[in-house]
Assembly symmetry: C2
Homo-oligomer: 334 residues x 2
């Protein structure tokens, strides 16, 4: 999932509010992240330092800390856990760049293009194992256990997506299963950890987990819409990476489902041989169908379901920010 | 490190003795390994099942269980930990095959050649994260902490090796630092975990750790000798992968150190442009130098140092087998 939150004015305003509330806490998380990722080896340090340049909006630490604050108070364990989930997320990004042969991430050369694939694979492994090393500095094994389980589900989701690449018969249910794993699970984990380590009861932790899961699905559907349609400044310029990799996403699944045999055959031909014109040639089909509106509505349903999970929390700024996040999740132009 | 223990008659005899002592225990470890690595997803299961076909001699579980038995008794925690270290080792093998573009492992197609690099990278991640998930099922966080630290050191060793590729000025000290990380650390961890979870005191756990570290170094030097010289049935047929990847190992470091300027320049030219004749062309230089004998002697020193760490353990079959392992470590034809 790309974290393009900053694109819309509403979203940047939200990020400013998050920063006002969590600024010092996020700095503390950054410090732990940086302190932990120091190596005695100069080359490893060079790679780690380069990596910090393409770090993103810290959505996962934000989810974890907001959940903690909405359920009680932020403790030292939360800082550690927020650094852990950011490390795991960074590991998946570094490995994604190998899988996608990506050359640029956030305007900076990827590890694989600056050095080589070997360095990326090993750096990802280093980050994964370091995340667990850090998680095991907490008193109980619960965090390790939950993080281990979730990262497994993430890997299964990604493996499943690789396997389904080029499958034009993918169903909506199968698509949802994939994004639940590859995206929603880590968001769910963040919110659950935030709540649990703020001494919430099991029920609240599970509600927050469900909030994160639904929010993650909404985010991913919106992201997949953007990939197929292109954002305003991207349309016609570059091919979405899902199209490139023949990953079927919700808008395409709906489009194919609504098409008659002749149109469906034409779309499949387009998808099977992606090139720079694919997106613009798909556009006319999207304009004649409800696929975009349908996908947008589905994303909204998940965003609403996420919001409803917050019902029993006491009012607070953190709660309101968690609510606001569900609105920005489905804005197409972020 | 390749685990070719079975090659020599002495080594197979040792493995029979290990199997007599640990047969049922190793079966239990296999069961945990297999039970843990089941996925609800058919594709993930297919990949996991394929992976089991190139599993090796289980050297790491053997080290862990022998250490446990030599220090006290094997407990349920040991079975779990032995499955964990085997999972981590398998993860590194799966990623090594991507790094090396390997097509065959133990006469079976690698994951990257049977499927693709993406599947290999994600399967490795799945194994790493699953290992930590399993380790966190134990009561204390200590195992996670030790395993996290060691896997980090392994990754640093491998990153360092990648970085030093093609560096013909690598020193013996730098070489030892690399193999301490990439190979010896996991062996050290196995022996330490075996001892610690058999309720050994700190001193014994550290002695066993040091045993594993020295044994791992001895193994790796012997393995690197084999890569440069070729085993009897390999010589002249295929290029060693270290030569192919321009990884300087102890025999070459010594050979370069003993050579005059003209000879050294010729060797460097050979190393810089590896092909199928490189090994046979290096042979004449090895025959005129002490590089092979020197490397063999260094491996023997580490094997002896490993053996000496066992001095304070009470006599037992396990202790004797740990001692015997130090002898087989440096046999060139295993």
């Amino acid at each position: 999932m790309k974290e393009g939150l900053a694109g819309s004015p509403g979203a940047s305003e939200l990020l400013v509010q998050v920063d006002e509330l969590l600024g010092d806490d996020l700095v503390r998380v950054e410090q732990i992240f940086a302190e932990e990722l120091k190596s005695w080896h100069p080359f490893v340090n060079d790679v780690l330092e380069h990596m910090t340049r393409f770090r993103g909006k810290r959505l996962r630490p934000i989810l974890l800390l907001l959940s903690a604050k909405a359920c009680g108070a932020i403790t030292n364990d939360h800082f550690v856990l927020a650094a852990v989930v950011e490390m795991i997320h960074t590991a998946t990004l570094v490995h994604d760049d190998v899988l996608d042969d990506a050359e640029i991430r956030r305007h900076v050369a990827t590890i694989n293009s600056r050095w080589n694939n070997e360095t990326s694979v090993l750096l990802g492994d280093y980050l994964f194992t370091h995340a667990f090393h850090l998680a095991s500095s907490l008193e109980s094994t619960l965090a390790c256990r939950l993080i281990g389980r979730s990262t497994n589900i993430v890997c299964e989701g990604e493996l499943s997506q690789i396997h389904q690449r080029g499958n034009h018969e993918l169903t909506e249910a199968e698509y949802l299963e994939i994004i639940e794993g590859k995206t929603a699970e880590l968001c769910a984990l963040c919110c659950q950890l935030g709540a649990h380590f703020a001494d919430s009861g099991e029920q609240t932790s599970q509600s927050l987990r469900e909030y994160g899961r639904c929010l993650g699905i909404a985010f991913q559907i919106a992201d997949d819409l953007l990939d197929v349609l292109g954002s305003e400044d991207q349309t016609g310029k570059s091919l979405g990476s899902d199209l490139q990799k023949e990953k079927l996403t919700l808008p395409l699944i709906r489009l194919l489902g609504q098409s008659g045999p002749a149109q469906s055959a034409e779309i499949r031909r387009l998808l099977a041989d992606p090139n720079d014109n694919t997106r613009s040639r798909l556009k006319k089909f999207f304009e004649l169908s409800d696929a975009v509106e349908y996908s947008f509505a589905r994303a909204n349903e998940f965003a609403l379901a996420a919001r409803q999970q917050l019902g029993n929390l006491p009012d607070s700024i953190s709660k309101r920010l968690l609510e606001d996040l569900t609105e920005f999740a489905t804005r197409r132009n972020w």
